[in-house]
């Protein structure tokens, strides 16, 4: 006897209907790299698994009306292999390459990554600095959630019980910029982030800074950005910026790193990320994808 029923709707309408009927006990399945383990470990109980991979619309990965749309069933490998992502969204490209390993990236989706809403989600900082809109659908219709409001706490997000994330909508930046994602793990291979930081600097010297793994949810730190906005980057500014970073983050100590190590590394990684971002803005190395640690 199976512990759950399996559904594979072919349309979004069918999917939201099914999810609504079973919402209290149903789980949505995309890559399954988190979900299947959680079901195995009995962290969650479900009696209906709704597989969204047979809905063609969710495979969408395209530029339209000055926005990028990433469907819920787009895998990290598909992002890495996309020229649009590599050229116009290089920090998403750079951070996607840092997710787990090839065999997981072939299956795991960026939408699944944010829906799991773990504090260390590698894709979150890049999505935060690109001011991503999370588009969701339920039987009651569609709505949009700013990614900055999407994460609520460890494994908690703003989705209502019957809502399905259908895609991410990301504005194209119509000015030149440099960005980077720097991730520190315990070793070079596959590991969850001890600290992850994404930064962006635009040609009109607007800065964006976001972290994962240093607070209960991935966060953007606008107060730190404001100290840099309008200024050509110099490491001398970082002392003041650091104060704002320390006010904003609240890392835990766990098996991967102590609290104080995460705090110190938050400063170190920010410096490395900003140096790389500013250098890229000016058209210089390091090229995207290059190891920054």
């Amino acid at each position: 006897m199976s512990s759950f029923d399996y559904f594979s709707p072919k349309t979004l309408e069918e999917a939201v209907q099914l999810y609504n009927e079973h919402s209290a006990s149903a789980r949505l399945l995309l890559g399954g790299t988190d979900l299947v383990n959680m079901i195995n470990d009995e962290m969650i109980k479900t009696n209906a698994v709704i597989d969204l991979k047979n809905i063609a619309y969710l495979k969408q990965l395209e530029l339209k009306d000055n926005h990028l749309y990433i469907g819920a069933d787009v895998t990290f490998t598909e992002l890495i292999e996309s020229d649009i992502i590599r050229e116009k969204f290089p920090v998403i490209w750079e951070s996607s390459r840092k997710v787990a390993s090839m065999g997981i990236r072939n299956r795991a989706t960026i939408v699944g990554n944010i829906c799991s809403s773990v504090p260390s989600a590698d894709s979150a900082p890049a999505l935060l600095i690109r001011e991503t809109i999370v588009r969701v659908m339920s039987v009651n219709g569609k709505r949009e959630i700013d990614i900055a409001d999407f994460f609520i706490g460890p494994r908690k997000n703003a989705l209502k019980e019957n809502e399905i994330v259908i895609n991410l909508k990301i504005p194209v930046l119509n000015k030149s910029f440099g960005g980077s994602y720097v991730k520190m793990g315990r070793y070079k291979g596959e590991d969850l982030a001890q600290v992850g930081v994404a930064t962006l600097v635009t040609e009109d010297l607007q800065y964006r800074i976001a972290y994962c793994a240093v607070s209960p949810k991935p966060i953007r730190i606008k107060k730190a950005e404001q100290l840099l906005n309008g200024r050509e980057f110099s490491v001398e500014f970082l002392k003041d910026v650091d104060t704002e970073i320390m006010n904003a983050i609240s890392p835990i100590g766990d098996i991967r790193a102590s609290k104080s190590y995460r705090e110190k590394m938050s400063s170190v990684l920010l410096e490395k990320s900003l140096i790389a971002s500013y250098s890229r803005l000016k058209g210089n190395k390091p090229e995207y994808g290059k190891e920054l640690l």
Partner: protein, 154 residues
């Protein structure tokens, strides 16, 4: 709720009845006699259960068999149908594995990787291999074998 799934397995079309929560790995091993993928960690981390799904390496221990309906699966049994490959020969020559438990997963992962990137740099080989754990060799012999099998101009 048992249901019948049909998929391509190493160029054959197969149909099999599965429960919703049966893993692809278990169906391959215990219902279809495909023994090359192995269960190691059982949670998608060690890579020893890797198979190719529509040409991409995936972890069959964290995929439900029902998800595979209509898809294409390749395992070592298919890849070496006409004899062992150049990559496998290099593994043998370098004595790349000791116990061999990870060998199938490593070979599957590298088969996908080398189709995309036939002349990789050592760093690229290591990154591509980072999701396949080997507890015998310390990886050096495996990386050497892959590098040897992919030398430019051969």
């Amino acid at each position: 709720m048992k249901r019948e799934i049909t998929f391509t397995l190493n160029d054959d079309i197969v149909s099999v009845y599965v429960e919703s929560d049966e893993k692809l790995l278990d169906v391959l091993r215990y219902k279809l006699g495909i023994k090359s993928p192995k269960q190691g960690c059982g949670r998608g981390e060690c890579g020893s259960c890797s198979v190719l799904l529509n040409g991409k390496s995936v972890r069959s221990c964290i995929i439900y068999a029902v998800e595979i309906d209509g898809q294409k699966i390749e395992t070592l049994e298919g890849i070496q149908k006409n004899g062992i490959t150049k990559l496998q020969r290099s593994f043998v020559e370098h004595n790349a594995f000791q116990c061999g438990f990870c060998a199938s997963g490593v070979t599957i992962t590298m088969t996908e990787f080398l189709r995309k990137n036939p002349y990789p740099k050592i760093a690229e080989i290591k990154e591509a291999l980072s999701g396949n754990l080997c507890r015998c060799t310390g990886y050096k012999s495996i990386v050497d074998a892959i590098a040897d099998a992919t030398k430019e101009g051969e």
